[in-house]
Amino acid sequence: MDDQSKYQDPDWIDAYLLEQLSESQVLEFEEALKSDADLRNKVDEYRAVKEGVEDSGREELKERLKALEGLVSLETKVSKRTAVWYSSRIAAVIILLILPFYFILSDVSDLDSEEVFASHFKPYPVLANGTVRGEAADDPLADGLRAYENGDYELSIITLENTLKQADSSNIGNFYLALSYLANEDAGEAIHLLQGLAEDRDFNLYEQAKWYIGLAFLKNNQPEEARNTFQSLYKNTSDPSLKRKAERILADM
C-alpha cells in the first residue's frame, strides 16, 4: 500500500474522525485530503455515519434522562402532597389511630412498595449485557428480545415462552421472560423464574437476577422479603454498581 492510498483505509478515516490520531498524523491526513477527492468523499460518508449514530445515541440518552426526571418530579410531588395532607388533617390522624393497627401498616406498606418499585425498576437492557442476539431473521429468541426492547411485553412473553418450550432451557431466555412478566405486572411469575437463575452461579447475570427478585418482591407487596434480598445483595456482591443500587433502594425503603 503506497503512502497516499493507506489513508483510504477505514481505520485511518475512523481514527481521524474520532480524534485518535497524533498531531503529526492529523497534518499528514489533512494534507492527503487536500489532494484526494475520493478520500474527501469517503471521509464525508464516514462523518455522516459517525454524526448520525451520535445524534441517535444522544437522543436516546436524553429520553432516558427525561424519563428519570419524570419519576423524580412525580416522587417530589407525591411527597409534597403527602406533607400538605398531613399538616392540614392532624385531627384525621387521631381517627386513624383508633383503626386496627394492622390496617394502617398494610395500607402504608402498599403505597411505599409500589413507589419504591416504580422509582427503581428499569428493564434490563438487551444490548449492554454481553449477550448476542441471534442474527438470523427467524430466530425466535431474537424476536422475543426485540419485542422486549420495544416494550411489547405481552408479545415477548408469548415468544420467549414458545422458544423455551422448543429449545433446551436457556438462562438468557428465562431471564428476559421473567423481566417481561415483571414489566407486565405479573411479579409472582417473575419471582418463580428468577429464583432459579439467581442460584445458578454459572449464569453471568445471576446477581442481576437477584436484584430483580428484590424488585419483584416489592411489586408483589412483600417488603420484608425485598429488604432481605437487597441486604444480601449489598453484603455479597462484588459489582460496585449493584452494591450502590442496593444501598440506594434500602435507603428509600
Binding site: 474520532l18 464525508d44 449514530v53
Partner: protein, 188 residues
C-alpha cells in the same frame, strides 16, 4: 454525597468503562443542587431548568466517553455548574436574539444559502433514520463504536465475538449495509 460517588476519578473510570446506570446516580445526586442554582441564577421555568440539566449531563457523559475528561480539577458539582452555565447562557442569548431581531434573523437566514450545510444535515438525518432501522448486530456494533467509543476489543468482549478482527469485518459489512439503506432513504 453518596459513598460511591465520593471518588470522582473512580466515577470517571467506571463511566468510561460503560456503567450507564452510574449516570442515573450522578443525575440524582446533583439534581436538586443544580436545579436550585440554575433556576435562581437564570430565572428559568422548572422544565427549562431540567432540560438544561439533562443536556449538561449528556455533555459530561460524552466528554468522559470520548476520553476528553479523564480527571477533574474541580469537584463534580462545580464542573456541572460550569457546563450548565454555558448552556444556559447560550440558550439565553439565542432566545434574546430571536426575540430582538426575529425579523432580521428570518430575513438573513432566507438570504444566505449554504447548500453544503443543508445537504450535509440531510445526509446525517438520512443516516440517522437508516441507522435506527438497522437490525442486530449492526445497530449495536455501530452504536458501541461511534457513540460509546468502545474499541473493537471491548465490543468483541461485550458481544461475545471471537476477537477484534471479527468485529472489524462485521463493522465493515454493517457500513456497506447502512450505505445501501441510506441510498434507499435518499431515493425515497
Amino acid at each position: 454525597m453518596n459513598e460511591g460517588l465520593r471518588n470522582t476519578d473512580q466515577l470517571l473510570k467506571e463511566l468510561k468503562q460503560g456503567d450507564t446506570g452510574l449516570l442515573d446516580e450522578v443525575y440524582l445526586e446533583n439534581r436538586d443542587a443544580f436545579l436550585n442554582w440554575i433556576a435562581k441564577n437564570f430565572n428559568l421555568k422548572e422544565e427549562d431548568a431540567a432540560d438544561i440539566y439533562q443536556d449538561t449531563l449528556i455533555v459530561f457523559y460524552e466528554n468522559v466517553r470520548k476520553g476528553k475528561l479523564k480527571q477533574l480539577s474541580v469537584n463534580l458539582q462545580t464542573y456541572l455548574f460550569s457546563v450548565g452555565k454555558n448552556l444556559a447562557l447560550k440558550r439565553h442569548r439565542s432566545m434574546r436574539l430571536i426575540r430582538k431581531h426575529e425579523d432580521e434573523l428570518v430575513a438573513k437566514a432566507e438570504s444566505v444559502e449554504d447548500p453544503f450545510s443543508t445537504e450535509s444535515d440531510e445526509r446525517i438525518e438520512a443516516v440517522k433514520a437508516a441507522f435506527e432501522k438497522m437490525e442486530e448486530p449492526c445497530h449495536s456494533i455501530l452504536k458501541r463504536y461511534y457513540y460509546f467509543r468502545q474499541s473493537m476489543t471491548e465490543i468483541a468482549a461485550a458481544l461475545n465475538y471471537k476477537n477484534a478482527d471479527t468485529v472489524k469485518s462485521q463493522k465493515s459489512r454493517c457500513m456497506k449495509h447502512l450505505k445501501k439503506m441510506v441510498k434507499t432513504v435518499f431515493n425515497g
